[in-house]
Symmetry: C2
DNA sequence: CCTTTTTATATACAATCAATATAAATGTCG
DNA sequence: CGACATTTATATTGATTGTATATAAAAAGG
């Protein structure tokens, strides 16, 4: 139930409708998380029912698209949010990445193909890092905590790029194997 | 469908039963991911049905616990695994952390309490880093890719600790506010 | 002998993610 | 002008992942 509190947190800034919430998160926190409509709309509906947010149907004057539903945080919602904010965070960090998931098993596959995938990943991470550098100026003007989060994002990105470059070198330098006997060595894990 | 291929990858080492799979992942990859029974047993069942793994009921001789079901990867499973391994990883990195989720909103809450949470988190990350340093020797002997992953884990952990220490200092140094007007500044996000 | 611990399988339910259907208004291009 | 793509917006479905817990067998401890 973490997402619902992020939504409540955003509504502190001002009332918003679902579409804007996603836009806001992607613009300001997109470097760390993402959110999608499958979580936003059901959560808003549920929180409306629980009285944590209030809704006002906004007739859009001269605006594009279907009528918007503007959600605002209620006093009850603010209390629930502050309780959550002061509670001790339970559970550790979850890091799931389709590239890293494959990476640990690259010893079982074709090295040439693995290097292709690594190069593509490196390019993607470098593009992302360039984008983050470009956005640093914007985040400088943001509040303290938002700015600090953005800095963490930059540093993590830097670590990823540097690590993958060094890893690539080690993989290339590794003795070429004929594929059969050395596999066990290349991927070897402790045998319990 | 990433988890199922991780299981298939593990079965490359040798046949295993569900309980051992979790143990193995926690010991060797626990620094990056986790897995749980709610994913292991249903996946094994499904993959058995699809012919990607085979099962042999093992009568445990003198061993503790209920009878084990030993799963091995089949030729079909090996093919499916290699296809996945060579496929381009889709989707970016997912990072979800209950602490960081609160962190961005700390400007809305009580600063003293926020610092308590930060200190607890810092202690936890430092303990984890110490553990990782202690395990480095073990990972040195592991295969290339497993060792590289472990190194990434260490570097990320180092970045987290260093970042949070600096962030804490900035938060403490920030001008003390009376809670009302400055909140907007402390958490301020671009207003779209 | 009874309770606790360890090993192990299994499921239910909640949270999250990806994909897509629907709809309204506006711009655009022949 | 009208067909068509685009943007803005709400909403739902199904798959995947995560948390918690129920069940059970045997060894270990007192």
């Amino acid at each position: 139930m973490g997402l619902r509190y992020s939504i409540l947190g955003l509504l502190h800034y001002r009332p918003m409708h679902g579409y804007r919430i996603k836009e806001h998160i992607e613009r300001n926190f997109g470097h760390m998380w993402s959110i999608n409509y499958g979580q936003i709309y059901p959560n808003l509906k549920k929180m409306l029912h629980e009285g944590l947010v209030s809704m006002s149907e906004e007739v859009c004057e001269g605006e594009k698209g279907p009528p918007r539903k503007l959600y605002a945080i209620t006093e009850k919602g603010r209390e629930a949010f502050l309780d959550w904010l002061a509670s001790t965070p339970e559970g550790g960090i979850v890091l799931r990445d389709p590239f890293l998931m494959r990476f640990v098993f690259f010893g079982f596959g074709d090295k040439k193909r693995s290097l292709e995938i690594i190069d593509a990943q490196l390019a993607a991470w470098e593009r992302q890092l360039a984008k983050r550098y470009a956005n640093l100026a914007r985040w400088e003007q943001s509040g303290l905590y938002v700015r600090l989060m953005a800095e963490l994002g930059v540093r993590m990105n830097e670590v990823f790029v540097a690590w993958l470059k060094e890893a690539r070198r080690e993989i290339v330098d590794e003795e070429a194997d004929d594929g059969s006997t050395v596999v066990q060595y290349a991927t070897g894990i402790d045998h319990l």
